[in-house]
Symmetry: C2
Subunit: 253 residues, 2 copies
């Protein structure tokens, strides 16, 4: 694999080994289930130390192309990787990428005790108050997306006093309460009248919704639902076995 970085400078030895094995697998020469030479065989073949071979094989294992079992050996995976890296761009960056001027407005802001429904959203919530925000993001003269967010004031008390005038809540939170875990749900739904109005689309037209819940450790930080007009927004995820190829990519209109 090795890499997805630029041209191909001077491949290091372990990169060469990784690439060699990778191409044998991809060419079908080593089909799924095939045993890969032992580390000591490869180190002999390449005239290098076992550690170097190990680095290559460890990399292949991490990327999911091979599986390794002690005492048995390393084998080509039967069903390679089943996941892709989804980029979570900042909204401002998305709008900038369109070449449109970006702005946002806080449509509503309420501090309140969490309702029962919120408990599900902020899983693990301990009962502190929440800040309930609605933010509309603009790309030029068009509403770009709608952000509906709950912030757990137990996790981020300073949020209560923050106006979010300088920085929208998303980036602001990133600075104050970096998260360690996140879960995203992506779905399509028809626009209800309220969201249709705010996004200036016809009621019932398709919307793309990304829900995100983030935790810092076990403490829920925020729950946010970002809704895009479906015809104008795409999410892009890329995958290559070597995870480094996490192409910047992202969205488009």
């Amino acid at each position: 694999m090795t890499s997805a970085t630029s041209p191909r400078a001077a491949p290091t030895l372990h990169e060469r080994i990784t690439g060699d094995i990778e191409s044998r697998i991809l060419s079908g020469e080593w089909p799924p289930g095939a045993r890969i030479p032992f580390e000591h065989e490869l180190s002999a073949r390449y005239g290098c130390s076992r550690m170097t071979v190990n680095k290559a094989l460890t990399e292949l294992a991490r990327s999911g192309l091979i599986e390794r079992r002690r005492k048995v050996g390393s084998f080509v995976t039967h069903s390679p990787a089943r996941s892709a890296l989804l980029e979570i761009p900042e909204i401002k960056a998305e709008v900038d990428a369109l070449g449109e001027p970006y702005r946002y407005e806080i449509l509503s802001r309420r501090r309140r005790r969490p309702a029962r429904a919120d408990a599900r959203l902020l899983e693990g919530h301990e009962g502190a108050e929440v800040l309930d925000l609605t933010v509309r993001h603009w790309a030029g003269e068009r509403p770009f997306c709608l952000e509906e967010r709950l912030i757990n004031l137990g996790a981020s008390p300073e949020a209560a006093a923050e106006s979010f005038a300088e920085l929208p809540p998303g980036p602001w939170l990133l600075r104050r309460a970096p998260w360690t875990n996140a879960e995203h749900r992506i779905r399509a739904r028809g626009a209800d009248p309220r969201r249709a109005g705010l996004l200036k689309v016809a009621p019932g037209s398709p919307l793309l919704t990304v829900e995100r819940r983030t935790w810092s450790g076990r403490t829920p930080v925020t729950y946010v639902q970002i809704t895009y007009p479906g015809d104008r927004q795409e999410l892009v995820a890329r995958f290559s076995p070597g995870q480094r190829g996490a192409t910047p990519g992202s969205t488009a209109a």
Copy 2:
């Protein structure tokens, strides 16, 4: 922290170092831009060799938490890559998870020269014929999703003679032509009359579409568009900074 693998066996030394640094970063003790101790400092602090430290730092760099520059040092990343691991489940597994009986049917199958429009879809295509398939997947008595696929017969000639009676095209391809790169686009759109009919939903109702293009090296393998009724399907992605948590999840197509 580190890892998402099971309980926590006995963390190895480099795992411990990785975890230590990671938690210092996430706790804010080492804010973005902060310099991380040099490798030789860490190896002294942990009483281990520099290679072990290097392994830990390399891992952190790969996961995007730190950046490393020669002669300068290692630094906490300013904007940690916000990416999430999107699971690409196999359709059968999704339906099984619902507890519904699964079946699929090939609705159409055409072998043809690629039209001009296909070139965009199969980026890098060299002019071989393509196999154009439409497959409907069922969950019990309900259409579950629609699969519209182009297979590059240049990359996978055996597909031309395959009936896909035993295995749907996705899993079949995975066995024959594993891919090295994939790109996914996710969007919401309204159901056109044809898809509405095939999925038995009202025209105009929101659909969630996942487009996937895969390559084996630079050769395009397949382009597929999978369309779900939007109200019934969600995509879930999870993230934790240590990428190793590459959820086992299901399988892919």
